[in-house]
């Protein structure tokens, strides 16, 4: 093995992941070309709305990836993961809001429209700094990271685990939802932040910008995958698994479980924040709905559908479920909930390891392996 292959050995170890990386990085290059350079009449042309849809899916995939990192590997079932996504989104939204300048309806160069008509006279302190991209970009990571740090520090130190943790994360996102709904918070209340014009000087409604955003999202996804893969393939990853399966035993071996959990929790929160920041300019709105507990549950469901505990599975799950949603809400607007619901039920019943596990199942059936890699032993996280 040469030094390079040694250094990226952690990537090579996971074949599904490699395929994913190639696919995502390929898409980052090919999709913009097919969208911008190929004539619209050509069958190879990718229309604009597909580009922005795919960009959205990839942002969701990044979010699912981060959720899988903590759920699949550390056993932290966060039902409030969407909160970090939303916070990242808001940080980006605030930057975009500030970029509008005096192009808002009331023409106020300082204040966003919603502040003007609700009679705010000056920009609240927490809005300052967001006119600079670098600051906003930092906040995209720092704000979710900080929340995760504080929340996680308290929760993990007090050894809140299992469903108790899940439910208080849900309480967290629910509380944030209500808080952001309040117009007095200064984040646009229920309507959230919209009407964005441009990002770093590029017009958001421009096709090139959209294609570029897509590529950036794909890159971010690939990079985050690399980070997650590095973490999970390292010994730290194995410690996390140990924590997931037998937390107190891990402690007796001298590992500071709370620090390990906190570490991945914060990393995942920052990734979710990044996903949110990439999502917002592509869909053009961020509002408190993103904090809703239902959204966070959905994230978990993407991961479960794809295959918990396999990073590329989470990505696959997010894309699949969201594609399904896009397709069915258009094709079967009245019955799509049946389809989606049935899909979830079917996945649990027939694909215990998610879509990814299906492949493994087939393989297993094809050649009986010497050692049973997938035993009947499942982890019970629910305290009884």
């Amino acid at each position: 093995m040469g030094p390079i292959s040694k250094r990226i050995g952690f990537l090579l170890g996971d074949r599904g992941g490699m395929a994913l990386l190639v696919l995502v990085l390929g898409a980052a290059i090919v999709v913009p070309i097919l969208n911008l350079a190929v004539a619209p009449e050509s069958p190879y042309h990718i229309p604009n709305y597909v580009v922005s849809l795919m960009g959205k899916y990839l942002a969701f995939a990044l979010l699912a990836l981060s959720a899988d990192l903590i759920w699949g590997y550390a056993g932290i079932l966060s039902l409030g993961h969407g909160a970090f996504f939303a916070l990242g989104g808001y940080a980006m939204g605030m930057y975009l809001m500030r970029q509008i300048g005096d192009r808002g309806v009331y023409g106020n160069p300082e204040l966003p429209d919603f502040m003007v008509f609700l009679n705010w006279h000056e920009l609240p302190w927490y809005w300052h700094g967001f006119e600079w991209f670098a600051f906003a970009a930092l906040m995209v990571l720092v704000v979710p990271g900080l929340l995760a740090l504080v929340f996680g520090w308290f929760a993990f130190r007090s050894r809140v685990t299992g469903v108790y943790l899940s439910i208080i994360t849900q309480a967290m996102t629910y509380a944030l939802l209500l808080a952001f709904f309040r117009n007095d918070m200064g984040f646009g209340g229920n309507n959230g932040l919209t009407d964005f014009k441009d990002l770093l000087g590029f017009d958001l409604h421009d096709d090139t910008t959209r294609a570029a955003l897509f590529s950036v999202t794909a890159l971010a996804l690939a990079l985050s995958y690399g980070v997650c893969r590095y973490i999970t393939a390292s010994k730290l990853g194995r410690v996390l698994l140990a924590v997931r399966d037998a937390e107190s035993r891990t402690r007796f071996m001298g590992y500071r479980v709370e620090n390990y959990k906190l570490f991945v929790f914060v990393v995942a929160a920052m990734m979710a924040g990044l996903a949110g920041a990439l999502y917002v300019p592509q869909v053009g709105i961020i509002n408190p709905g993103e904090f809703s507990p239902g959204n966070s549950i959905e994230i978990i469901i993407w991961v479960a559908v794809g295959g918990r505990g396999t990073l590329y599975g989470a990505v696959l799950g997010a894309v699949l479920v969201n594609y399904g949603k896009t397709y069915f809400t258009g094709a079967l607007p009245e019955a799509w909930l049946y389809m989606l619901g049935a899909l979830f039920v079917a996945v649990t019943l027939f694909m215990p390891q998610g879509v990814v596990g299906l492949v493994a199942q087939w393989k297993n059936r094809l050649r009986a392996r010497k050692a049973p890699a997938q035993g009947d032993h499942q982890v019970a996280e629910v305290g009884q």
Partner: protein
């Protein structure tokens, strides 16, 4: 294209499905009707229904899909303001056409949107006028109850300014906001009672939204708040919301709309009949947003016919000044600020869940995009015809 496509962008699932599904059916009914009459410009009209599932970003996505992929000529859709705000950038970017049929907080005028629901001056202000009048009970204290989101906040801000101008001081105004879907109203109804016991005639203005209304009215009834003591006038409660409640204890409470199902005239009777036939359920009610959809659809049809094409720019030009009969007997007119002129009605709840009109504006009221009671917005004018050509101008733009 050999067909003219109409996009229908109403939530069929999720929290808003309860209200929006009806509007989807209304559009489908209108399309059906139009096709029976031979279509539009000799072409068949095709409705493309999608479900944005009460998910606001999904509204934007679906709009893009409707316009770019399905190539629809017009979209009827949205209920909540946030869904409209989400759609707005897309529809402007792609130069689409949206008809928005619900009463809202105003403070908006887009070249690509026609607002056929009521602006605050077509609903809230007349309703308060009525409460303050001798006939409406000459209220001296007002409780503003609302769900905590932009429409109630804005409306109440406008109302507060208006009430102040009518000599009601801030001490006599109580404002209270609750989360979406709030279901436990015991405390608040109790507070209203307390507020009302300060010795001045009190009335409640409710901008409570959607699902929260049923438990609110149930609590009102059970705590025995009678309309003749503390009348409640609501802006978001129509026939459909009432159909979920036993209305008998609520008789006398009020709502302000531009339409009531109970309005007695031939156009309305025909509309109701058509609706019942279409939905195959003679118990289903009609309501104001349905009328707004009806007006919007008919206007669009007329405008297309007048323009001779479904092309968005041509249709938009043809829309200005377009008149269609509304269901309350009279004509709705599309103004150049993309808002309608409509009459305002105040109705009392009847035991059967219907409203009886107790007051009606003389003639019609012109919808205001920008409220006169918000200082920054009072300066603005929305006018999409020469010489303004702008949704938010302080001076004419040529």
């Amino acid at each position: 294209a050999e067909t003219i496509k109409v996009g229908v962008l109403h939530s069929l699932s999720g929290t808003m499905a309860i209200s929006e599904t009806t509007l989807k059916d209304t559009v489908l009914m209108m399309v059906d009707d139009l096709n029976k009459k031979g279509g539009l410009l000799g072409k068949k009209v095709e409705a493309v229904v999608v479900d944005p599932a009460s998910n606001w970003p999904l509204f934007a996505e679906k709009t893009r899909e409707l316009i770019e992929k399905e190539k629809v000529d017009v979209i009827f859709g949205c209920w909540t303001s946030v869904s409209r705000k989400s759609v707005l950038p897309v529809i402007e970017e792609l130069n689409g056409l949206l008809f928005y049929p619900v009463q809202y907080e105003g403070e908006e005028s887009s070249r690509n949107v026609f607002y056929t629901g009521a602006a605050p001056n077509q609903q809230a202000i007349p309703a308060v006028d009525y409460l303050l009048s001798e006939e409406g009970g000459a209220a001296k204290r007002i409780v503003l109850l609302g769900t905590d989101y932009v429409y109630p906040r804005t409306t109440n801000k406008i109302l507060r300014a208006y009430l102040n101008s009518k000599g009601i001081s801030d001490a006599d105004i109580m404002e209270n906001y609750t989360p979406f879907g709030h279901s436990d109203w015991q405390t608040i109804v109790g507070d209203v009672k307390k507020f009302a016991s300060a010795g001045k005639k009190t009335a409640v203005v409710s901008t409570i939204n959607g699902d929260a209304n049923v438990p609110f009215y149930k609590e009102l009834a059970n705590q025995g708040i009678k309309a003749e003591e503390i009348p409640v006038v609501a802006f978001s409660v129509g026939e459909e919301e009432l159909s979920g409640i036993d209305a008998k204890p609520l008789v006398g409470h009020l709502a302000a709309w531009n339409y009531f199902m109970s309005v007695n005239n031939d156009t309305n009777a025909a509309f109701i009949k058509k609706w019942h036939a279409f939905i195959k359920d003679s118990k289903r009610v009609t309501n104001d947003p349905m009328e707004a959809t009806y007006i919007g659809f008919n206007m669009w049809v007329q405008a297309v016919e007048q323009a001779g094409t479904a092309n968005v720019d041509a249709v938009r030009q043809a829309m200005y000044g377009q008149k269609v009969p509304n269901l309350t007997g009279g004509m709705a007119v599309m103004n150049s600020n993309h808002h309608l002129s409509k009459p305002v009605l105040i109705g009392e709840i009847q035991p059967d869940g219907q409203f009886e009109t107790v007051w009606k504006t003389e003639g019609t009221v012109v919808g205001d995009a920008w409220s006169d009671f918000i200082p920054q917005s009072a300066k603005l004018t929305a006018d999409w015809t020469y010489p303004w050509v702008c949704g938010n101008c302080e001076k004419p733009k040529y």
